[in-house]
Amino acid sequence: MTETKRKTPLIDELEKGPWPSFVKEMKKEAHKPITRDAISQLERSYEEHISHWKHGGLVGVMGYGGGVIGRYSDLAAEFPGVAEFHTFRVNQPSAWFYTSDALRTLCDIWDKHGSGITNMHGSTGDIVFLGGTTEAIEPIFADLTANGWDLGGSGSNMRTPSCCVGPARCEWACYDTLNACYNITQSFQDELHRPFFPYKYKFKFAGCPNDCVASIARSDCSVIGTWKDDIQVNNAKVKDYEKQGLDLNADVCDRCPTRCMSWDGKTLAIDNSNCVKCMHCINMMPKALKPGKERGATILIGSKAPIVGGALLSSVFVPFLEMDPESEYSDLKELTEAIWELWGEHGKSRERVGEFIQRVGLSNFLEEIGLEPVPEMVMHPRTNPYIFFDDEIFEKAE
C-alpha cells in the first residue's frame, strides 16, 4: 500500500470492524497521487469536523449541460492532487446488470483518467466516477462513448432514470421496467443532457407496489406496476404455507389494509373489488399468490427531498396505464411532455414539479395538461369550502 502524505490515524480506525471499509477501498487506489491527497484531506476533515470541498464552477463535457459535478479543494496548496476533484455520472444500464467484461472496460477507463474510486452506485442510480481533473473530462467522455457508454444527468434537466430488477428476476413485475427505463432514457436524451427545466426531473420505474427503487419517495415521475383483475390464488399452496407455520389470519388477513380477505382453512376468499393492490398477501406467500393478469402501472407525480418547500411523496396522476412495450410508452411520453411544457413555462427556478403543482393547484394543473380529475387522485375530497366556482356550475345544476 502506497504511503499517504501524512499519517491517517482517525480514518484508519475505520479499517477495522466486520463491515467492508470504504477507507480500505480508498487506500487500494492510493498509488494514484490524486487519491492519496483525497485520503489525506479526508483525515483532515476528521480532525477538524468540517468538509474541505468547495462548490464547483461550470465544468462539463462540450455540448452537455450535465453529467459532471465540479468540485475543488479549499486546501489545494496543501493537497494539490485534489485541487480539482470532479465526479462523472455515467448512465448505468437498466437494473444495474453487468458482465465482467463491461465492468473491466469501465475500470480501465477510470484507471487511465481518474482516481480509481467509484460509487456503485450514486443515489440516483448512476455509476459515479469519483474524482477527476478538468483536463480529464473530454478524454474520459471520448473513451466512454467509444465503448458504448454515455453520461447521466445533473443540473436542471431530466435525471438518469432507474428501475428495479423487474421481469429480469422478479415474479411480481407488472410491466417491463428495464425496457421502459431504457426506452424513456433513450427517447429523452436531449432533455437528459441539456438543462432547460426549472429544476431537476427524475424518473423511477418499479415493477410492483413494493417499489424496490423507492420511486414514490425519490422521483418526480414514479411509475409503479399494478394490476386490475383478481389476484391469482392457488389454495393448495396457501394450505402449504399454513402447514409450514404461517398464521393465515394474524399474518395475512388481519394485515390486509382493507381487510378484504378471509381464510377458512381451505379457501382464501378475496374481495378483489376492495383489494388496493398493496402486495402484502402476495409477499407473504410467493408460491401461492400472484398479481392478476391484467397488468399495467400507476403513474404518480412529484416526489422530492425537503428543499425548499418540504419533502413530498408522489401523488396519483393516472391510476392505471397500460405499459405495453410495443406502444413505446407513448401515453407516458405524451403526459410527460405536457407536464414539462407547463412546468417549463410557468415553474419558478428551483421549483420541483411537485411544488409547482401545489402552488398552482392540482385541478388547474390537470386542466392545463388535459387530464380529467378522478377521485383516485385524492385521499379524500376537500374539507374546506373555499371553492373557486366557474360559470359552468350553473349550467350543470340545471
Partner: protein, 358 residues
Amino acid sequence: MADERITDIGPPHYEQFLPEVIKKNYGKWDYHEILKPGVMVHVAESGDKLFTVRAASPRLLAITTIRKFCDIADTYCGGHLRWTSRNNVEFLLTDEKKIEPLIKELADYGFPVGGLGAKLSNIVHTQGWVHCHSSASDASGVVKAVMDELFPYFTGEKDLPAKTRIAYACCLNMCGAVHCSDIAILGVHTRAPVINHAELPKMCEIPTLVASCPTGAIRPATVDGKQSVEIVEEQCMYCGNCYTVCPACTINNAKTDGISVWVGGKVSNSRVPPKFSKLAIPYLPNNPPRWPEVVEAVVKIVETYAAHARKNERLGEWIDRIGWPKFFELIDQPFTKYHIDDFKHAGETFMRTAQLRH
C-alpha cells in the same frame, strides 16, 4: 470518421448484460425463496433456477475491488453480476454447488453476504466529507461505524421483525430516501450561514439568493458600501439552501454541526401507505471517527424494535401501534420542543382527538 464526437447514445442496452437463464425466463418467473442468509433462488415457470448471492458493499469501491468482483463472477457466474438499489452487489448463478465456494471467496475478500428478507440491508448514503461541500458530517464513516455494530442484523445472526432500511444523508438536501426510511441519520447544520461580504457580490446574484430562503430570512443589505445580504438569525432554520445557490454563505461549522435521527418511514405500499420518517433525536454531536453517540442511539432503536415489534411489522407500523409516547419512553430519549412541527403544515400534525393512552 474516427474523430467524430459521439454523443447522446444513452446507456448500453441492458439485454447484452443479462445471463442466459434470465433471457430465457424473462418475465416468466414463478416464485422465489430465501435459502439462507444472503442467498435466494428464483424459480421460473420453465423450472429453471436462478440463484442470487447478495454481498455487502461500502458503495465507495476501488476499481481494484470491482476487478476482483469480475474475476469472482467469471469463476462462479459466467461473468454475471448486478448491483441493487441499495448498493449491495449480487452474484447470479445457475449452479447451486457454486454457492458455498462463492460465499467463501467473498468472505475472504472482506465482503460478507446477507441483507435479504426481513433483515437489515445496506445503508443508503451520500458523499459527506469524501466529496461534498455542504456536508454537516461525513457519510461513509458514520455508515461504517453503525454497520459494524449492527452487523449481526445484516448477516441474519440476529433477527428482525421485518425489512429494516437505514439511510444516511449529510445535509438537508437529503440525497437518498432518508425522508422515508425506517431509520434516517441526518447531518444537520445548527447555525445561520456566515456571509463573506467581500466575495458575495462577485459570486452570487442577490435576488436569487434572497428568493432561495424558505423562511424569508435573507434580506438585501449594504455592508461596507457593498451590495450584499443580511440574515435574520431567528428566522434561519439552517437548511443550507442559500449556501447551495451562493458559496459566499458558508453554512458549515465545525463546532456546531451535528447529527439528527429520524424513524418510522417507509416506501413500499405494503400494508400501510408510504410514510415519512419522523424526528426521534434532534441533535447528537459530531464525533469522528466512530460517532459513538449516534451508534449507540441507533443500536438502541434497532434493539428496541427487534424486541417489541410483531412479525412483518415495519418500524413505523410498530410505533403507530404502541404510540409515540411509549416509543420515546422505550428508547429512553426526551420529547422536546424540537419534535413539534412548526413548518408550513404544522397544524396537520397536532393531536386532534381525545384518543390517548394515559
